[in-house]
Amino acid sequence: MNKDRIRNFSIIAHIDHGKSTLADRLIERTGTVSERDMESQLLDNMDIEKERGITIKLQTCRLYYKYEGEEYVLNLIDTPGHVDFTYEVSRSLAACEGALLVVDATQGVEAQTLSNVYLALENDLEILPVINKIDLASADVDAVKLEIEDIIGLDTDGCPLVSAKDGTGVDDLIGQIIKKLPCPDGDENAPLKALIFDSFYDNYRGAISMVRIVDGTVKAGDRIKMMSSGKTFEVVEVGYFSPHMIPCKQISAGEVGYIAASVKNVSDTAVGDTITNSEFSAKEPLPGYKKATPMVYTGVFPADGARYDDLKEALLKLQLNDASLSFDPEVSSALGFGFRCGFLGLLHMEIIEERLEREFDLDLITTAPSVSYIVTKTNGEKLTIDNPTTLPNVSEIASIEEPMVCAKLFTPPDYVGPIMELCQGKRGIFIDMSYIDPTRVQITYRMPLNEIIYDFFDSLKSRTRGYASLDYETDGYEKSDLVRLDMMINGEICDALSIIVHRDNAYSRGRGIAEKLKDVIPRQLFEVPIQATVGGKIIARETVKAMRKDVLAKCYGGDITRKKKLLEKQKEGKKRMRKVGSVEVPSEAFISILKIDN
C-alpha cells in the first residue's frame, strides 16, 4: 500500500471530553460499520467501559476514506483518558505519527489534556487540536482556543470545531487529518521491524500481537522472531481491525495491524518488543517502552475460601490482556489464601475487582490499598514493602521512605481555598500556583501517594463539586514518620485490617476504624473489645456488647421444620463470616474501613 495514503493517529483527551464519541463518528462517517451495526462507544468492548462511559483498553480501527479522488487508510487508535492508564496512552502514541487533541469546548484544558500532550510531544507526534461539544449552549470556543494557545502553545487557527454528538464538522476534521498529519515513513523492503504496542489472548488463535510495522512486510507463513527472547514462531494470520479482526494478505511498513502466530503465552508477545523476520533479521530492535510499575497494592481474597483456585484462574486470564496487573500469593490469618495484587492506580484496581466479580462471578474481600515503601533496617538492609503485615518490628526499622507524587490540579478560582486545605491536610507541600486565565487556576503540590489513594479523589470531587481535575506523576521517595496501625479484635491482631499511616494521623484513623468496626461487627455470644494499636500501644477502644437475645420464641403447632430452616439460614450466614480468633467478622467489615471519611 502506498504510504502516502496512510495516516496513523491517536485521539487523546482528558476523561469525558468525548474521545470515544468522536471515534464513533469517524467510524460511522467513513462507512466502516453499517448503520445497522452501529452502537455507541463502539470501540469500548467491555461492559464496564460502556456502563461507566470510559475507555480502559486502547483499541484500534482501520477506516477507509475517499478524499479529493484518492482512497486513504486512516488507522485510529482510541486511548484511555484516566491518569491510571497513562501507560496505555504512551504505548499507542508510539504507533502513530499524529494525535488529535480533543478539548471540550465547555471545559477547556484539563489536567490530563496537558499530560497527554506531553506524552505526544515525547513521541514526536504532530498534534492537531480539535474543539468538541460546540453544540452545547455553554460552549466557549474562543476562550478554549486561547487556552490551547496559551497553555499548550498549539496554533488553533482553523482547527476543526466539531460536535461528536451530532456529527458537525466531522468531514472537515477528516480532511484536516489527511492534510495536516504526516504519513508514515519506513522501508517495506528493509528487514521486518514491528513494534508490539499491545497484545491479548484469543482462545482460538493464542496470543495475538497488535503491531505497528515500522519497516518491512509480514504475511502468513513467515517465520518471525521476538527480538528480546529470540523465540521464533510461524505466522498463521495477519490482518487489521475494522473494528473487528479482518485477516489480509500482508501488512507492511507504515501500517497498523495484528499478527497471530500460535503463541501460547502472552509473555512471549511482550508489549514494547520488536518482531522481526527470523531469516531476514533486523540488526537493532526498536526502542521499547519502560515496563508499567504498579503504584497501588491490595490483598484480594475470595469471600468463599474454596474459590481460591477460581480467583487464581481469573487473575491469570485478566493478566493475559493486562500486563500492568501483578499478583503474588498472600496468606492472611483472617482472610485465608488470596493474592497481593498490584495496580496502576485506584481506578485500575476498581475495574479489575469489578471484572473479577462480574466476568468470573467471584465474591471478593479486598484489604485497604497500600503503596510500596522502602524500609531501611537498623542493620542497613533495604526492603521494599507493599503489605503492611510484612513491615519489620519497630526496633529493627531505621527509616521508612514513601513514594511521592507531583500532583497538578486544575480548578476554577473559587475552589482554590478548599483544594489547598485538602492538600495541606493530606501532607501536601505547596509547589506552585498559576492563573491560566481568569477562570482557571493550576495548582501544583508534592504529596505522598499514600494520601492520594486514601479518599483523595472523593474528597476533591465533593469539595469542588466535580469542577477540579487532577493528574499526577511519580516524584521519587521521601523519608517520613510512618507507623503501622493494627486493629485488635478480642485481643487478637487482625492482619487484614493493618495499614501504614503517618504518625500524626494514626490516632484519628484508628479511632475511625474502631468505631466503624463496632458498627459492622454483629453482637456475639461474648463481649468483643476492638482496639487500635500502634507499636503495642492502644490508642483507641470500642466494645461490641454481648448479644442477649437470639431465640425463636414460638414453634407453633409443632412446626419444627420452620425452626430448622431458620437455623440452617443462620448457619449459612455464618459461612460468609471471617474468624478473627473466636470472633465472627462479616466481609463488609473489611470493605467498610476503606470508606471512612475524615
Binding site: L525, V551, L552, A553, G557, G558, E568, K571, K574
Partner: protein, 376 residues
C-alpha cells in the same frame, strides 16, 4: 400419641400474625372445612386408631369463635375414632372477647379441661396497635370467668409491643400471675410481610430494642417465679404439675398427628403402635381449599396431600433431639451432647441429675449456640 386440631378462623387478623388463619370466611367455607376435618379424623382413626391419645390441643385461628356445638361434635367424632385416655389433657385456645359462660359449660361437657387464653397485653394502647378485639377489662373478667369452669387455665402474653415499658410489663404480669396457673410469655417476632412489620419498617411505630425486650422477659420471669410460676421451657411458665403436656410433647419426641389445614405431624409408628424404622415429619397444605379438596379426594389418611414431608435421618434425629430438648428447663440426657459443646460455650450450659440444660443466658441466645452445635 398427641393430636393437634387446627381451626384457622378468626374474626379479624392481628397485625403481628403470620399463622395460618383467615378472617371473614363465609359460613359455607367453614362448613366445608369442618366436614373435611371430620373426614380426616375418620381417616386418621382408620390409620392410627390403635394409638392411645394422651393430649388433644384445639388451636387456631380462634377456636372459641366457632359455635361451641361444633367443638363438641369434633371431640365426639375424635372420641369415636381414637382411644382417648381418661386422664388426657384436652386444651382449647380462646380469645377473651369470644368467651361466654355457655361456651365454657359446653367445653367442659365435651371433655375439655384446659384453657389457653390469648391475652397478649393488658395495655389498651398495645392491644389496639396490634389489632386485638378485647381490652384490659374484658381480658381480666374473662380469665376470671374461665377459672369458674376450669382449674387449668393459661394465658399468652407478648412483650416487646410498641407501648411496653418496664412499668407496664411489671404491672400486667403482676396482675395476671395470680389469675392463672400457666403463662406463655413470648417476645414479639416481627414476621416479614405482616402489617406490624410494615409499619415498623415505615417508622410509623417504634418498637422496643432487642435489649429492652430482653429486659422485659427477665423482669416477667422474675415476677412469675415469685408467684410460683416456674419456667419449664423457653417461653412457658407453670405452677407445679400444670405444665402443658401437649406442648412438652413437641420438645420431648412424642408422636403427634396434626389434623386440619397446614397442620404438622410427627409420626414414629405405622399404626399408632408398631414403630417404623425412621420417623417422619409432614404437613398438610396451608390453603384451606387445597386442604378441603385434598381430604375429600383421599380414601386413606396417607393419601391426603402433603405440603412438605421429611424422612428423618440420623443427623436430623440428633439435631431435633438437641434443638427441641434444650428448649426445656430439664434439658437433654447428658450423653447426647458429649463432645459436641465447644469449650468456650460451656458457660452457657449446666448439668443436673444426668441432664444437660441451658442457663438462663444460654436459653436467651439459644439459636446462636445451636448453629455451633448442630450438624447443619
Amino acid at each position: 400419641m398427641e393430636i393437634y386440631i387446627h381451626l384457622p378462623f378468626c374474626k379479624s387478623k392481628c397485625a403481628y400474625c403470620d399463622f395460618n388463619s383467615l378472617s371473614g370466611q363465609e359460613e359455607g367455607t367453614v362448613f366445608s372445612y369442618l366436614s373435611a376435618l371430620n373426614r380426616e379424623i375418620r381417616l386418621a382413626g382408620d390409620a392410627y386408631g390403635k394409638a392411645e391419645i394422651s393430649t388433644v390441643y384445639i388451636g387456631g385461628g380462634t377456636p372459641s369463635l366457632l359455635d361451641s356445638g361444633r367443638i363438641k361434635s369434633i371431640l365426639k367424632v375424635l372420641g369415636e375414632h381414637f382411644r382417648i385416655r381418661d386422664d388426657a389433657e384436652i386444651s382449647i385456645e380462646c380469645n377473651p372477647e369470644s368467651i361466654t359462660s355457655e361456651k365454657l359449660a359446653d367445653y367442659k361437657e365435651a371433655g375439655i379441661n384446659r384453657m389457653s387464653i390469648g391475652v397478649q397485653s393488658l395495655d389498651d394502647a398495645n392491644l389496639k396497635s396490634i389489632g386485638r378485639l378485647h381490652d384490659r377489662n374484658i381480658a381480666i373478667s374473662k380469665i376470671k370467668l374461665a377459672r369458674q369452669y376450669f382449674d387449668n387455665a393459661s394465658c399468652d402474653i407478648i412483650v416487646g409491643l410498641p407501648y411496653d415499658t418496664n412499668d407496664t410489663v411489671k404491672e400486667e404480669i403482676e396482675t395476671l400471675a395470680p389469675l392463672v396457673n400457666h403463662m406463655s410469655v413470648y417476645a414479639l417476632t416481627l414476621e416479614e410481610g405482616t402489617p406490624l412489620a410494615l409499619r415498623a419498617e415505615e417508622g410509623k411505630i417504634l418498637l422496643p430494642s432487642d435489649d429492652e425486650t430482653e429486659d422485659y422477659l427477665e423482669l416477667a420471669e422474675e415476677i412469675l417465679e415469685k408467684h410460683g410460676l416456674i419456667k419449664y421451657e423457653v417461653s412457658n411458665f407453670a405452677s407445679d404439675g400444670m405444665e402443658c403436656r401437649h406442648n412438652l410433647g413437641y420438645w420431648t419426641d412424642e408422636e403427634y398427628l396434626g389434623l386440619g389445614a397446614g397442620a404438622h405431624s410427627y409420626i414414629k409408628t405405622s399404626d399408632g403402635k408398631n414403630p417404623i424404622p425412621t420417623p417422619i415429619r409432614f404437613a398438610h397444605p396451608r390453603d384451606i381449599h387445597a386442604y378441603i379438596a385434598g381430604v375429600n379426594c383421599a380414601n386413606a389418611f396417607d393419601m391426603i396431600p402433603r405440603a412438605e414431608m421429611r424422612v428423618l435421618d440420623e443427623k436430623d434425629v440428633f439435631n431435633e433431639a438437641v434443638m427441641l430438648g434444650l428448649r426445656t428447663s430439664k434439658g437433654v440426657k447428658s450423653g447426647i451432647l458429649n463432645g459436641h459443646i465447644p469449650e468456650e460455650l460451656k458457660g452457657f450450659f449446666k448439668e443436673a441429675d444426668g441432664y444437660t440444660s441451658l442457663t438462663r443466658a444460654g436459653m436467651a441466645v439459644m439459636n446462636s449456640l445451636l448453629v455451633r452445635i448442630l450438624k447443619l
